[in-house]
Amino acid sequence: MRSAHLVGTILTLGLAIGLGGCGQKTETADGAQVVRVGSVAPLTGPQAHLGKDNENGARLAVEEINARGLTLGGRPVRLELIGEDDQADPKTATIVAQKLVDSGVAAVIGHLNSGTTIPASKYYHDANIPQISPSATAIAYTAQGYRNAFRVMANDEQQGRVLGEYAVRTMGARRIAIIDDRTAYGQGLADEFEKAARAAGGEVVAREYTHDRATDFTAILTSIKGKNPDLVFFGGMDPQAGPMAQQMKRLGLAARLLGGDGMQNLNFIKLAGDAAEGVTASSPGLPLEAMPGGPDFKRRFEAKYGPIQVYAPYAYDAVMVLVEAMRRADSHEPAKVLAELPKTDLQGVTGHIRFDAKGDTEGGAVTLYQVKNGAWAMLETVK
């Protein structure tokens, strides 16, 4: 009797789960089919401000597409953005990825960090779901041979090379100290920078490490100071770069600070205070003002969500790339969308987006900026 009851319960549960699975692609009241798109970024933890920015960028795109109306295969379609939080943590990223795959999303926009994008990409690859990262720049992401992995931003190879050459040739650095935050992004960028700087004739006098939760760098900076560098390169994000700039000043370390796109944002200037002055950093792509759709995007975004942190336009474009592929395929079926994605040729907010064979954006530009009078001022754009 009891075992029969148990079997009944299991059957009911199984049925409920099965029905739940069928219920994933529901219909709205007006008969439009709901297609879910995942968006993953750190929404809690030290990089939450950047994560929310990415999600808002994607959300703006989804809302605009829904407002304009989208028809696939003769049926009206409404996109629904499922925002997930990976805490910038590789382990959490894989859990979230599995969750999204299980819930049957049509595609994933994300993740924000390279360190989370790479482990998560295996799950999307196995499920054959398109993944477009707005901001993961590590080379390894698209070097895995996954045909479903794309990104809409120049990768670290391009950025690190530009930075290394710029440090030695334009800034005239001879003795260079390198610090990275041991994430896939920070380490990858620092490695590429080191290669390019050495090739250009610079001498690397110190290689130090921190982590992406740290606030105290006095110990490594003191050690670096003993080696008399004239330039310090940091591969990492603004929550570390800000205090680092302050601590360099406090310790009387006279070297200039140079970094990548992780610190080329508003928050860095706020955190570094007057120590931000003169700091140089690069960012893939063009400055927002110089982007084809930049000023207009800024106006639409800020009316809804407030100031742009940094990657929101890329998240927006990632959604647009996806929807364009869906339109061409006339379907939201992942396999059909994947067949169309490599043919992308879209004039987006951030620039003209085309993919190479690996899924990287072709001909990505890198722009260098310097803090002048408390704001990032553009120095030059290197193709």
Binding site: R207, T215, T222, S223, G242, Q246, R250, A272
Partner: protein, 309 residues
């Protein structure tokens, strides 16, 4: 040599802050044998409240000297944190005082998560930057740089720790605290109001946390809803290193952990010929912690735990 002295100064400043936070852990553990995991979050709330006040004054028409503004922030943060600590004890720990020891430990973690997320909702995900109100005058001692703020942090922590030591050793409240730590039941029989002593412990610990929170945010120039986690973890380790439950131990453990971290990060690369880099700084600090605990399981200054009922 100047590099060594600089590392020592770095470590002492960091260690003073650890020590202040560690005192909160160790006082509560000494009396309740409870690891108050929410303590790091109280530090964070202290920093956030002080920054909110400082931001409001700095943004208003009042033109007060910078240090006065910071002082006003601290003076609001201290009672705010005391009230918070008092409430946490009353709501989350007191009803569980007779429950198995695992229960309050889990509520402590719960309180910590609640505080973290409340702070995220109130102050947002953004990093809050500390306005440049404190002059960063730098002095040179034997080739090393030390700022007024660093000197102030070391001095103030030392003063507070000395004051706390006097309070615990000399005052009536201190005697009641020590008695409660030895045995709640016997202390109660001797006429000590145990509940009041425990509340007082939380009030004092939270006030120290508030001060430490403001120090950290002034020193690093930022505050964030997440900052209490790592700080709490380090301070807890410092308390264990010194001997948890022992007040002098928390001070020693804090200072020691700060110095070990600084020297470890500064020299580990050179000492191992680049084989181990500065990313092993925490490994180094915790390796020392493990080593100490292997030979002295109750910490550097800890008593035998078994003697406590």
């Amino acid at each position: 040599m100047d590099i060594f002295i600089q590392q020592l100064i770095n470590g002492l400043v960091l260690g003073s802050i650890y020590a202040l936070v560690a005192l909160g852990y160790t006082m509560v553990y000494g009396i309740l044998e409870l690891i108050n995991f929410a303590h790091g979050e109280v530090t964070m709330i202290g920093a956030m409240v002080a920054l909110a006040v400082i931001g409001a004054i700095a943004g208003s028409a009042l033109d007060l000297p910078g240090l006065l503004v910071v002082l006003a922030g601290v003076l609001v943060a201290i009672p705010a944190c005391m009230l918070l600590g008092f409430t946490i004890e009353k709501v989350a720990y007191r009803p569980l005082r007779r429950a198995p020891r695992l229960a309050p430990l889990i509520t402590a973690i719960g309180v910590s998560i609640v505080l973290q997320n409340s702070a995220m909702l109130i102050w947002g995900r953004q990093y809050v930057s500390f306005p440049p109100l404190i002059p960063q005058n730098s002095h040179e001692i034997l080739g090393a740089h030390i700022t007024d703020l660093q000197i102030f942090i070391i001095l103030l922590s030392t003063l507070i720790m000395a004051g706390l030591w006097l309070l615990v050793q000399q005052s009536t409240l201190g005697r009641a605290m020590r008695a409660t730590a030895q045995s709640k039941e016997v202390a109660a029989l001797m006429g000590v109001n145990v509940d009041r002593v425990i509340s007082a412990t939380f009030l004092i610990g939270s006030a120290l946390a508030a001060i430490a929170g403001v120090m950290v945010s002034a020193y690093y120039g930022l505050a964030h809803y997440y900052m209490g986690f790592m700080l709490g973890l380090k301070a807890f380790s410092a308390a264990v290193l010194g001997g948890i439950g022992n007040i002098a131990g928390a001070m020693l453990g804090g200072l020691l952990l700060g110095v070990i971290e600084a020297l470890g990060a500064g020299y580990i690369g050179d000492l191992t010929g680049g084989f181990l880099g500065s990313h092993y700084q925490d490994v180094f600090a915790f390796f020392v912690l493990i080593l100490v605990l292997v030979f002295r399981p109750s910490g550097l200054l800890g008593e035998r735990v078994a003697s406590r009922a």
